[in-house]
Every structure is written in C-alpha cells, then in structure tokens.
Amino acid sequence: MASPARLPFEEDIHELESLLLALELKSAKELSASEEILRIRKELARIKRLKYANLSAWETVLVSRHGDRPQTMDYIRMVFEDFTEIHGDRAFGDDRALRCGFARLGEHKLMVIGHQKGHTLQERQECMYGCAHPEGYRKAMRAMTLAAKFRLPVLCMIDTPGAFPGIGSEERGIAQLIADSLLQMATLPTPIFCVVIGEGGSGGALGIGIGDRVAMLEHAYYSVISPEGCAGILWKAATELTRPLAAEALRLTSRHCLRNGVIDEVLPEPLGGAHRDPREMANTLKNWALRSIRETGRPDTTDLIDKRFAKFRTMGVFREAGNGSTQASGLSAG
C-alpha cells in the first residue's frame, strides 16, 4: 500500500498515535503497559469517535479517497474465495479500472464487479485511478449477462471519481456504454447488490449502480458530480475554499443519501475509518452481502425486476401543483 496519507483534520490523532507508538515500543522492552499508554489509547479512541461522528462533507470526501482505504481487490481477497477474474470486453481491450470475476462467498456463488483505483503509483496508472473507459462497462455488461445466464447474483463495488474523461473514452462512446449498462441492469434477471465502498462519482458510479439493494460505507460519498467539478462550474473555480462548499451543498454523504431514499443502508466503518481496520470493514461488508443474498433468496425474476423498478421509480422530489402534494423519495418529504 502507499504510505499512509495524512488527512489534514487528523493532526492531533497523528500526534497521539506517534506518541503511543513510542511508548508502546518502550514498554514492550519493559514488559508492562503503563497507565500512560492506557490513558492515551482511551483518549485516541475518544478523539477518533468524536471526529468521525462529525466529519464535514469535504472531510468525508478526503476519507473516501484515502490511499490506504481498502479497494475492490482488497475486499475480494478478504471477503471471497476462489476469485476467478474474467478479462476483456471482446471488442477493444481489458479495462483495469473495472474488475469482474466469479467468486465464492460461503456456500454462494457470485459474479463480482468493482472499480479498482490502485494503491501504488504503478497500479494507479494501470487502473487510470479508477476511471473506467467504455470497454470497462462493456466488460461489466458481459459479466452481468453471464451471471444472468447461470443464475448467479451480481455484487457491484463502486469506487470511482467518475468515468474517464478523455478523447479515446469519448470516441469509443462512454456515454453510450453507461446508457447501455443502465438499461441492462434495470432489467437484468438476477439479483444485483451494490455498495459504494469509496467514491461514488456520478455516471461512472451509477454505471454499475442499479441494484435490488444499494448500500454505502459510512464514509463513502455518492454524488451527481465531483465537488471539484461542481465548484468549478457553480463557484467558477475549484479552490481550497470552494471545494468544501460544493461538497456540503451536494449532500453527498451516506447519511444524506439514506435520508434522500437513494440507498437502503449505511454500513458502519471501524473507528477512524475503513483504512484503520480493513479486516473489520471487510467483515461488515461480508455480513451485509450474506444478509442481502439470504433476504433476496432465489426470486421469481419478473417479480425481482418489478421490485427493482419500483425502488428507483419513487426517487426524486417534486410538487404537484393544484393538489398541493409533494412527492419525495426517502424521508426528506417537505
């Protein structure tokens, strides 16, 4: 993994952590945990709990992008067995920003699809920082077709700043492929579970985001546009000042997405974020996946597709002039 990035709002946490480390090293020689160590541990937990319960929208974005935050391939290693990756879209190439493959979860067989951003510089460059091209979505569609054919549920892990904005991406029809994928997912005759594990950046995220269950990790974000992009347009420039304003305005945190009826569930993160305890996070994700599979069962596919439609059909907030009623998804009815 990359060297741990330091989040700007964690100065005091880092200070205490290095103090604790020094004390622990010292006490390891002395074979005694001093009062001081216990006190610092407690204080650290208290600060983390307080900070992470009150992250601003922009701080959430920073946590979701943390270099050590577990990514799709990390969860695949920690949660699933016998992962068998499938490669290529049979038209252009193999997009490393979107990974697909068969995997086992206990007694269940699944198709797993997820964005991969990469941890090391080399991996990041290979994965285009998690920004998929048209061939990535075409491969994902292939994987979903396979899953439907062989009656495997699909699990999608969303973690992208957005689909790749570039010349090749446009020439090969990134808008077309996202549009195709949305259409396919809306009527795919097998259960789909989606979870935003880090960045849920706009169309590139939604491109693998239509499911029967949609969850978010606590400190992930899900947004129509990146805070930078939004600040650049509505505040005329993305600066240190405007990025947090845009992040706040977009209501992109898991709490807001739950309230707006866009997701079903928030998966709590370990104290101080998923990057501090990837195992615990993986365990939570595993339990969510198992529960989702169990609760969905082996449904009649017509019923499944109808319910999936009904779930997305109610999303949005508008007013019906005349009868004065407001229709709102989620709890935000006003």
Binding site: G162, A163, F164, P165, G166, I167, S169, E170, G173, I174, A175, Q176, I178, A179, D180, L182, L183, A186, T187, S202, G203, G204, L206, G207, G209, I210, Y222, V224, I225, S226, E228, C230, G232, I233, L234, W235, A249, L250, R251, H256, N260, V262, R308, F309, F312, R313, M315, G316, V317, F318, R319, E320, A321, G322, T326, Q327, A328, S329, S332, G334
Partner: protein, 286 residues
C-alpha cells in the same frame, strides 16, 4: 451531470446583434450565425424553424416551436404540466437554487426543462418528450425525470411509439444532487420495460446533448437520430482538458463525429425530421 462539465453554454442562437436574448431566442431583427458568421435576418431563420438560410446551421429551437415543427397542427396534448420543481437539498451556490428556479421560470415561462405529451406526426399517434435547453441548460432534475418517466409509462400502456428530443448541456442537474443522478436510473428503468414490451423509441439528439442525459435516455433509443452539427458527448471540453491536457480534434463530439464512430443511426436535417420519424414508425409498426 456525471463528469464535471463545460460551463453551461448559452443557447447558440441567443446572441442577438441587438436586444437582449430571451429564452435563447434573439429579440433583435438580426442575428449572427455561428456557422457561417453571416448576419441573418431573424425572420428568415424563424420561418425555417431557426435554421440559417445561408449555411443551414441549426439554431436552438424552443420546445414549443419544436412541437409546432414536429407534430401535426393543433394535435399536441400536453401532460403533467402541473409538476413543479422543489429544492430538496436546499442547494445554494452563489445563488440559491430556489431563486434560480424562480428566475428561470419567469424567463422561460416553463415550470422546468421538459415538455411531454401526445400528438400526431403525419397522422401517426406518438408520445413525445422534449428537453428545452433554455431552462437551466436543459438539465435533468426530479421534474424532468418524472415527466419523462410518466411519458414512457404512458407510451407503454397506450402501445404508442415514443419520441424524445434531447437538448441538454447540463446533463443531470447539480442542484438536485444525487436525486438528479437517480433520474438517469429511473428513466432508464422505465425505458427498459417499454423496450421489453415491444415499444419503439426514437431518440433525437439536438445541440447540445451532454453528460448524464447523453449517458441515459438520449442514447437508449432503438433508433438514434441527430440534427447536424450538434454537440453530443459525455465529458465537456474543459473536464477533458483538466484531465488529459489535450486539445480536442476538430469536430470532436459533433453529430458527424458520432456518426463516424458508430453511435448515431442518421443525421437528419430539421426540415426532414417529421418525414424521417414517420417513415421509421411505419417500418417498426407492430
């Protein structure tokens, strides 16, 4: 809006040589054509549905004129015009979304960016949806999503062909945040069912069709038509520049570029749209 977009573009006909632009339609007697740089007598272009008489450049056409152009006279029955936008996020950038909505509504005399309903094209009954660039760059928020969704459902129920004419520089509307992104999912899901029920959907792309609108219903047609010279794509010029620092090739993201790359079935002159759509409906009639 999916990716960060280029700046909301002024409707391309909006620059009158004199007078203030109103609803993207120049008020002055003359307007300057971005295609051939000629100064065009406004009346001449309006008589041919906002096409430059010199070079055939397709200017912006408001939804209401679009209806007059596409549908048989007096045949349009508007649906769901009572749906009004809200401000679910209490969104505020330099201007509160609420105020923005009010001024857009006053300026365009439309409640939001979409018009939907039923009408006839050369005697063939169709369901029509139009997104109008004049209202917040034709971006899709909850009202646009809901109206299109209801139109698709009606077309499914009535077993009628569906025509959606897209004009959106904004894609999904930022001011309604994630709810706008979900309209892409919602309309796609409705179109998925329409398609499975055997419905015919003809999508007409006009200048511009970008971002989340392009990445959903605009490119989900059985047939994709485009007006000449329209800007069509996912990421805007500025976003691409910010990411890859490359100058875009000449004609990048135009209708002609998309045709060449295999994403558009036909480029159709505005004058011929009615005829072409009617013919396609006949070919696909059940």
């Amino acid at each position: 809006m999916t990716q960060p977009q280029r700046q909301p573009i002024e409707p391309d006909s909006g620059r009158a040589v004199s007078g203030r632009p109103k609803r993207g339609v120049p008020e002055g007697l003359w307007l300057k054509c971005p295609g051939c740089k000629a100064t065009v007598f406004r009346k001449d272009s309006e008589d041919s549905f906002n096409i430059c008489p010199e070079c055939q450049y397709h200017f912006y056409l408001p939804a209401e004129a679009r209806i007059r152009q596409m549908l048989d006279e007096e045949s349009f029955e508007e649906w769901d015009s009572h749906l009004m936008p809200c401000d679910p996020l209490e969104f505020k950038d330099r201007i509160p979304y609420k105020d923005r909505l009010e001024s857009e509504q006053a300026r365009t005399r439309m409640p939001d960016a979409a018009v939907t309903g039923r009408g006839y094209i050369r005697g063939r009954q169709v369901v029509v949806g139009i997104t109008d660039f004049a209202f917040m760059a034709g971006s899709m928020g909850s009202v646009v999503g809901e109206k299109l969704c209801r139109a698709v459902e009606a077309a499914t129920r009535l077993r009628l062909p569906l025509i959606i004419i897209s004009g959106s520089g904004g894609g999904a509307r930022m001011q309604e945040g994630i709810l706008s992104l979900m309209q892409m999912a919602k309309v796609s899901a409705a179109l998925g069912r329409f398609g499975k029920a055997g419905g015919l959907y003809i999508s007409v792309l006009t200048n511009p069709t970008m971002g989340g609108v392009a990445a959903s219903f605009a490119l989900q047609g059985d047939i994709t038509l485009a007006e000449p010279g329209a800007l069509i794509g996912f990421a805007g010029k500025r976003t691409i520049w910010n990411t890859v620092r490359l100058e875009l090739p000449e004609g990048f993201q135009t209708s002609e570029f998309l045709l060449q790359h295999g994403f558009v079935d036909r480029i159709v002159h505005r004058r011929d749209l009615r005829t072409e759509v009617a013919r396609l409906i006949d070919y696909c009639a059940r």
